[in-house]
């Protein structure tokens, strides 16, 4: 699940891609999409006035048509309405899982990077152990122990991304720690804590903001996978992953049921990635 490491690599490299201050087509599109997604999450009623849970068995399985732009599902619920209203769950799952992963990662990574060799060694072995677990198993065990649902799925995804973040943070911290400006601060007579708080942490954590936007997309994809395994959001929550996996059953007879939630998952992940990388570029080339 440490797709984040990949992202870290990307984040580190995109430094090189040059300071294009102009808004690219991709960025502009991603911006518009992001606005739409945020609006869907905050004021879904505005974009889709219907009730996402309202069933209408008699108009089940309708392909996209004038009344139902994205078609209807097996219970006759309007898929467009559900997708729009589901944004909040998916975004919250994505954001919260990332926050949890990142939070844990910061604690572990900082411990490993900052406090002596013994703790570094211990935390490192611990991370290695977590890496040796398949990420999904970590999530699986957690959910089986604490029961399925949006909250546990979120925590599970967060937990399984934490080692990835921790590794990145540790590496970043070690890099920052050895940089000349840290020595310069020592020469100016600053204390360890002052240096940690004013220089090391801000410089370590700043790139993580970007990582986090990238991680959100991945978290949503993982949460969807948990839904597929029947361990995600509880019905009839209009969570995308749950909709996607419900629609998958009817893939041969009602493609639209899985296509639109799937499309939104991919779009969200892509939007987050594009925006994250663009923000990163801008931040680096201030």
């Amino acid at each position: 699940m440490s797709d984040l490491e990949v992202q870290a690599g990307l984040a580190a490299q995109s430094r090189r891609s040059g300071p294009s201050r102009r808004l690219g087509v991709a960025e502009a599109t991603a911006g518009v999409l992001a606005l739409f997604l945020v609006a869907s999450a905050v004021v879904p009623q505005l974009l889709a006035p219907g009730d996402p849970l309202a069933i209408d068995p008699l108009s089940a399985f309708q392909p996209p048509n004038f009344a139902h732009g994205f078609g209807t599902d097996e219970s006759g619920r309007d898929i467009y309405t559900r997708v729009v209203h589901g944004t909040q769950y998916s975004l919250v799952i994505g954001a919260a899982a990332t926050a949890i992963g990142l939070g844990l990662g910061i604690v572990l990574g900082t411990l490993a990077g900052m406090l002596g060799r013994v703790i570094d060694f211990t935390v490192n072995r611990f991370l290695e152990v977590l890496f040796a677990f398949p990420g999904l198993l970590l999530a699986l065990l957690f959910i089986v122990i604490f029961g399925p649902g949006v909250v546990t799925a979120t925590i599970a995804v967060g937990l399984s991304t934490a080692p990835g973040y921790a590794r990145i943070i540790r590496a970043q911290l070690i890099t920052v720690r050895s940089q000349a400006f840290v020595e310069a601060a020592t020469v100016l007579g600053r204390t360890r804590w002052q240096i940690l708080l004013r220089h090391i942490l801000p410089n370590t954590l700043a790139p993580l903001f970007v990582l986090a936007t990238l991680g959100i997309g991945q978290a949503i994809v993982w949460a969807a996978t948990l839904s597929y395994l029947g361990l995600g959001a509880e019905p009839p929550t209009a969570e995308w992953g749950a909709m996607l996996s419900a629609g998958r059953t009817y893939i041969t007879s009602a493609w639209w049921m899985s296509f639109f939630p799937g499309l939104f998952i991919v779009l969200t992940a892509v939007t987050a990635t594009v925006l994250g990388r663009s923000i990163d570029r801008r931040m680096r080339h201030v």
Binding site: P57, E74, S75, G147, P148, E234, P236, T249, T252
Partner: protein
Amino acid sequence: TAAGSTESVGEPKSGGTITYASGDAEPSCLDPHVGGNFPQALVSAQYLESLVSRNSSGQIIPWLAESWVPSADGLTWEFTLRDDVTFTDGTVFDASAVQANIAHLQDPTTLSSTGYLALGKVTGTEAVSPTVVRFTLSEPDSALLESLSQPWLAIESPAALERSQDENCAAPVGTGPFIVESWVKQNAITLVRNDDYVSPPADAGHSGPAYLDTVIWRFIPDSASRYAALQSGEVDVIDNAQPDTIVQAEQSDSLEELDSPRPGSSNRIELNSGQAPFDDVRVREAFIRSANVDDAVSSLFQGTATRSYSALSSVEPTAVSNAALFAYDPTAAGTLLDEAGWNETDADGYRIKDGVRLTVEFPVSTNQSIPAEQSVFEQIQATAKATGFEVKLRPMDLSSWYAALASNDYDAVSAPYTKVGPDVLRILYHSDSIVPAPSGYFANLAQVSDPAIDELLTTAASTADATERAALYSDAQDRILEGFYILPLYDQQNHFLLRSDVIGLRTLPTVAVPTLYDVWLNR
């Protein structure tokens, strides 16, 4: 197109390999004595046979036993066995073989659960002669024949049973039309024809060995892949077909459908009458009246399932159906809730009483309920909400689901139970079944505790006379239905889809498992 249109396909041809894809879990043991669940029944029906079978009108018919006579007091039964049958390992089928099987089932180390329970009243067996075996019972058991017809009580080679359980689980030896050749875990079981086969049940389509050379028995848990595999011809028969694929198959020339509801109970939602809020019959009725099941079934099953108003499967001749009790009537439901004291409504539109919300905890086993059924629950959730019920659907894996049941952590639940004959009612609704087994398992999930029902079911279980027995079960069902303990949905769905060139597939009318004995390939 629907199956059964087997006219004019010509003479059966021998030979060929068929691939059967099961959506059920892969058994951990191929011997259905051990444990005893449906997946085992499905596959073991191809290589094991029972003493008796049942025909499509519900009558018990001979199989390995040619005839049987109960004593007048119903405490002993003598079965006359066929004398021309040998097990595929060469062992002779005789009275001692039957004895060995009953002993195996009753041996605690076998870890039998279904078979063990079915033989609850059997205290001993005796070989009267090589072809006559006598069963001794502690009390009359009107369900004995039905029990013995089930695949979980099939007869295996006594020599094979002597082997270790591991060996026996991997390749049980019976008298059936096929022989277990190999089993690659998580992939397939390979069965080959028993060339010496002589003992089809009385209602079989032909005699002598099976037509097919080989049967590949695969496990494809994902329903979409299973159907895709059938469509692409990768497999020939699939079970647990989804409603939408059945509808598609009906339009296809290359696919056929076989619908064979399982016996025993219907699929129903059981309301936990043992605790609030469903300890109040008015609330139970209100819930049932507030659930729009008809629309749900017709939209989700698209005509592949018929609404049930009975506690029993429609294949059970003794089933009682009462549609009037389950009509969708939200107004009546509202009135009933008012009467029961749930007359206030909170901000979310749910009924409350003494500050407590009218909440129905509904754990759903993701392993046991197909997606369409889970959607039925969602629609019930949505329609019941209009009346003021907050139904909390909780999907969980099988172990967690049983754990929730064991800790009485449910108000509604749906748990099918397959058993041949109406005796299933005793298992499901006798108050004895509320007492959990040491494992926490109990069958009376509605927690029906009605002395009158207990009395009716106990009497029926030991009543030999068919008419009398049917009347007793009918009375019991009336009481169960009128007590609004359950919300029947439909029969336990058991749809098979097959390629059109697969001819002669039928299910055994016992527990509706398919038999490949009569099947031949028109290729």
